[in-house]
C-alpha cells in the first residue's frame, strides 16, 4: 500500500476511545464511597455508561454472581425497545435512575446509576452471559448502557460531571487520606 502521507508507526496512536470520546466521571455516586461511574461521550453526542476503574466491583479480585436489569416490578431495562432513526420508545433516564443491580459472589450489592439525562438506547446483554467482560474490559466490551441525550442537552452532559483531570485529583485525594 503506497502511502502518500507517511504515518508514524513507532508509537501506538490514540485508541478508539481517545480518538472519538470524551471521558466524564461521577465520583461517589449517591454518596457511596468510591462507587465511581464513567460516561464516555462520543463526538456525535451519544454516551456510553461504564464503570470507572476505581469502582469497588473491579477491585480486590471480586467476581460477579449476578447482574439484574430489572430494577423494579414495573421496570426492566431489558424491555427497552427503540424504533427508527429518532429512537422512539426508549426509557427516559434522569441522573439518579438506576440502570442495573450487580451482586458479587461475596454478597456485596451495587446499583449502577445513569449519571446523566437522556434516552436509554440499549443495555449490554453480553455481560449477562459473560460477566468477566465487565471485570476485564469495563471501558469497552464491558460497558453498561448506551444513552442518547436530548439534542439541546447534549453539551450539558459534562456540566455536573468531572473531567478526567478533576477526577484524578479526587482519586489522589482519596489515596492520601485513607479514612
Amino acid at each position: 500500500m503506497d502511502c502518500k502521507e507517511e504515518i508514524d508507526l513507532s508509537a501506538p496512536g490514540p485508541s478508539v476511545i481517545e480518538r472519538y470520546f470524551t471521558r466524564w466521571y461521577k465520583a461517589d455516586v449517591k454518596g457511596q464511597a468510591c462507587e465511581d461511574h464513567c460516561i464516555l461521550q462520543h463526538s456525535n453526542r451519544l454516551c456510553v455508561l461504564t464503570l470507572a476503574e476505581t469502582h469497588p466491583i473491579l477491585q480486590d479480585g471480586r467476581t460477579i454472581k449476578n447482574i439484574n436489569y430489572k430494577i423494579s416490578n414495573g421496570c426492566s431495562r431489558l424491555n427497552n425497545k427503540v424504533a427508527g432513526k429518532s429512537k422512539r420508545g426508549g426509557q427516559f433516564l434522569t441522573e439518579f435512575a438506576p440502570v442495573c443491580r450487580i451482586t458479587c459472589t461475596d454478597e456485596t450489592e451495587y446499583t449502577i446509576y445513569s449519571c446523566m439525562r437522556g434516552r436509554l438506547l440499549e443495555v449490554n446483554e453480553d455481560i449477562l452471559i459473560n460477566t468477566s467482560l465487565l471485570l476485564k474490559k469495563p471501558s469497552t466490551d464491558g460497558y453498561i448502557a448506551v444513552i442518547l441525550p436530548k439534542f439541546e442537552e447534549s453539551k450539558l452532559v459534562g456540566e455536573n460531571l468531572l473531567s478526567r483531570e478533576d477526577f484524578e485529583a479526587v482519586v489522589s485525594k482519596r489515596a492520601n487520606s485513607p479514612n
Binding site: 508507526l9 501506538p12 496512536g13 451519544l46 432513526k85 429512537k87 449490554n124 469497552t140 460497558y143 448506551v146
Partner: protein, 544 residues
C-alpha cells in the same frame, strides 16, 4: 367563416354581450382548430369581410377579423337579436383579462424572443408554459355558469371539460409567433400538457388572511366542486375588469444535462459533500465541489446535483477503478460537447487538484442516475486496512486469517453512526481476507466483503457490538489506523471506457419559457375565497 354551428349562436351571443373576447368565445364553443386562434384579433389591421349573410356551415374564409367573424355569425342568427350590443373594440375580456388579447400579438412574441436570446442558450426545441392568476379560473367558471343553460339546452354533450383550456388557447395563439421570432425553431410536441406545477404569486395576495396557499390546480378543483348556488357571492357573468393582466416575468429554463464518470479519492481529509456545521465550513473542499467546478463553468450552469454509487468516510481513500458517480447539471446554457471536449474537461479536473482524479467522464441520460443506485447492495468491496495490535505478533500469527472464508458478522449499528441511523443488527459477510505482516505491532489486512460492511468496527470491535471481530479472532486488542477502498465492477456497462452510454441524439434540449401573468384587477373578495374553501374539508397541499 368560423366553424361555428347554429347551436353555438346563443352561446356566442351571450358571451359577446357579457364582454368576452373573440378567442374566449371560440374556447367556450370548443373550437379545436389551432390555426383559428392564431388569426389576428381586433387590434390588428387586416382587412376582413363581413359574412353577415353567409351560412354557418360554409368553409372559413382566411384573413378575417376574428371579432367580425363572430359578430357576423351572431348577427346571422337573425331572430331579433340585432340589438345585441357588440362588445366595444378595445374592451378587456372578462374571462381572460387580456391574456388572449394583447399578449397574443407579434410584439409580445418579440419581447419573449429577446429574453431568450439575451440568456444565450444553445437549444433545439422549445416548450412554452404559462402561469396565470387564479382568478381567471374563477371567472371562467362564472362565465360557464352563465352560459351553461344555453350550452346544455342546445348541445347535450357539452360539459365544462370540453371548453378549451385558457393555457392551451394561449399556446396555440402564440407558439407560432415565438418560433418565427427565434428563427424557426421546432416546438416541443407536448401541446396539451398543462403545466400544473405553475404557481402564482398572486395567490398569496388573496389568501394570506386564510393562511392557506393553494396550488392553482387545486383551485380549479375547488371551483368545479362548487355547486351553482355556492357561487352566489360572485357575479355571473363576471364583472368588467378595470385593468388587465400584466406579464410579470419571462423565465427560461434548460433541461438538465447528466454527466457521469468514476472518481478516485487520494486524500484522507476530504469529505464527499461539503461539511458545514452551524453555517461554518469544517473542511476545505469536497469531492463533489472539486468535480463540479470545471463542469459548471464549461456547461455554464449554476447548480448541480451530485450522486454516487455509495460513499466513503472522510479518512478513507478510494483507489482502483474508482467509484461511479453522476452529476446533474441544472439549467446549462450549453449542452453539446464532443468526446475531445469532455476529455479536456476531465483533464482540467484532474490537474486542478491532487486529492481526486476522474475518469470515463461522459454525458449520459437521466436513467443512468437510477442505474447507479441499483445493485448497490449486491456489490462486493475490496478494502485494505492497516491494523495495529496491542501485543507483538509474528508472521505466523496472522496466517490463519487467509483461510477464513465467508465469515458472517452480526453488526449492531456502530456508535459513530447510531445518532443518525436506526438501532439494528445487520448481518454482513466477509468473503475472504489476506494478511501481510509489517512489523510486530502492525499488519495490512485486505478484505473482500459484502457491501455495507463496517470495516472499522470489524477491526476494533466497537465495544463488542460487532461479533465476531478481529480482536476476538486474534485474541488481543486491535485498532485500525488506515483504510482504503476499491469499488468493484458495477454490473452495468455505462461507465466503461470507450462506451459513451446511450446516444443522446434523440433527446431534445428544451428551453422552457415560463410566462407569469399577474395584475391588479378586480379582486376576489376574501369571503368568497373562504367560501370556496369550505367545500374542501381537508386541508389541501400547502405551497411554501
Amino acid at each position: 367563416m368560423l366553424p361555428l354551428k347554429e347551436k353555438d349562436k346563443p352561446v356566442v351571443q351571450k358571451l359577446l354581450s357579457s364582454g368576452c373576447c373573440a378567442r374566449c368565445v371560440l374556447r367556450f364553443c370548443c373550437v379545436l382548430v389551432q390555426s383559428l386562434y392564431r388569426q389576428p384579433g381586433e387590434d390588428e389591421s387586416e382587412e376582413g369581410t363581413r359574412t353577415a349573410t353567409e351560412q354557418s356551415d360554409d368553409p372559413p374564409k382566411k384573413r378575417m377579423k376574428l371579432d367580425d367573424g363572430l359578430k357576423g355569425s351572431e348577427a346571422s342568427a337573425g331572430s331579433g337579436d340585432a340589438e345585441a350590443p357588440p362588445a366595444p373594440a378595445l374592451s378587456h375580456c372578462v374571462v381572460c383579462l387580456g391574456v388572449l388579447q394583447e399578449y397574443c400579438s407579434r410584439d409580445h412574441a418579440r419581447k419573449v424572443a429577446e429574453a431568450v436570446k439575451t440568456e444565450d442558450y444553445h437549444f433545439e426545441t422549445i416548450l412554452l408554459s404559462v402561469s396565470l392568476p387564479a382568478q381567471l379560473c374563477v371567472r371562467e367558471h362564472s362565465c360557464w355558469l352563465h352560459v351553461k343553460k344555453e350550452m346544455r339546452e342546445k348541445v347535450m354533450t357539452r360539459v365544462k371539460d370540453d371548453i378549451v383550456p385558457l393555457k392551451e388557447a394561449f399556446k396555440w395563439s402564440v407558439q407560432g409567433l415565438i418560433a418565427t421570432e427565434l428563427g424557426g425553431v421546432y416546438l416541443g410536441d407536448e401541446p396539451c400538457s398543462l403545466q400544473l406545477f405553475d404557481f402564482v404569486s398572486i395567490l398569496w395576495h388573496y389568501v394570506c388572511s386564510c393562511s392557506d396557499v393553494f396550488l392553482l390546480v387545486h383551485n380549479v378543483e375547488i371551483v368545479s366542486y362548487c355547486p351553482p348556488h355556492g357561487f352566489r357571492h360572485y357575479p355571473t357573468p363576471p364583472g368588467r375588469p378595470t385593468s388587465i393582466c400584466t406579464s410579470q416575468a419571462i423565465q427560461c429554463l434548460h433541461t438538465s444535462i447528466y454527466v457521469a464518470g468514476r472518481y478516485n479519492k487520494y486524500s484522507r481529509s476530504l469529505s464527499q459533500t461539503p461539511w458545514i456545521i452551524d453555517g461554518r465550513r469544517m473542511m476545505e473542499s469536497s469531492v463533489e465541489e472539486l468535480i463540479a467546478e470545471p463542469l459548471a463553468s464549461s456547461f455554464r450552469s449554476k447548480g448541480f446535483n451530485f450522486s454516487s454509487s455509495g460513499r466513503e468516510d472522510v479518512d478513507v481513500r478510494t483507489l482502483g477503478k474508482g467509484r461511479p458517480f453522476a452529476m446533474e447539471m441544472l439549467n446549462p446554457h450549453r449542452y453539446r460537447f464532443t468526446k475531445m471536449e469532455m476529455k479536456k474537461i476531465q483533464e482540467t479536473i484532474n490537474t486542478s487538484s491532487d486529492k481526486i482524479a476522474v475518469r470515463d467522464l461522459q454525458i449520459v441520460t437521466r436513467e443512468c442516475m437510477g442505474h447507479m443506485k441499483e445493485g448497490e447492495e449486491e456489490k462486493t468491496k475490496s478494502y485494505t486496512a492497516l491494523v495495529w495490535t496491542q501485543k507483538p505478533i509474528e508472521k505466523d500469527d496472522i496466517i490463519f486469517l487467509d483461510d477464513i472464508k465467508e465469515l458472517t458478522l452480526d453488526q449492531k449499528t456502530p456508535l459513530r453512526v447510531l445518532h443518525r441511523r436506526a438501532l439494528a443488527v445487520r448481518q454482513r459477510v466477509i468473503h475472504s481476507m489476506n494478511a501481510s505482516f509489517r512489523d510486530p505491532h502492525h499488519f495490512y489486512l485486505r478484505l473482500k466483503t459484502q457491501a455495507g460492511t463496517y470495516i472499522k468496527e470489524f477491526v476494533h470491535g466497537d465495544f463488542g457490538r460487532t461479533k465476531p471481530n478481529l480482536c476476538q479472532l486474534l485474541k488481543m486488542d486491535t485498532d485500525i489506523l488506515e483504510l482504503d477502498v476499491e469499488v468493484g465492477n458495477c454490473g452495468t456497462s455505462y461507465f466503461q471506457k470507450g462506451n459513451p452510454g446511450k446516444s443522446t441524439g434523440s433527446m431534445t434540449r428544451i428551453v422552457q419559457l415560463g410566462l407569469d401573468f399577474s395584475g391588479d384587477f378586480p379582486r376576489l373578495d376574501v369571503e368568497n375565497v373562504i367560501f370556496f374553501f369550505s367545500f374542501q374539508k381537508t386541508r389541501l397541499k400547502q405551497y411554501t
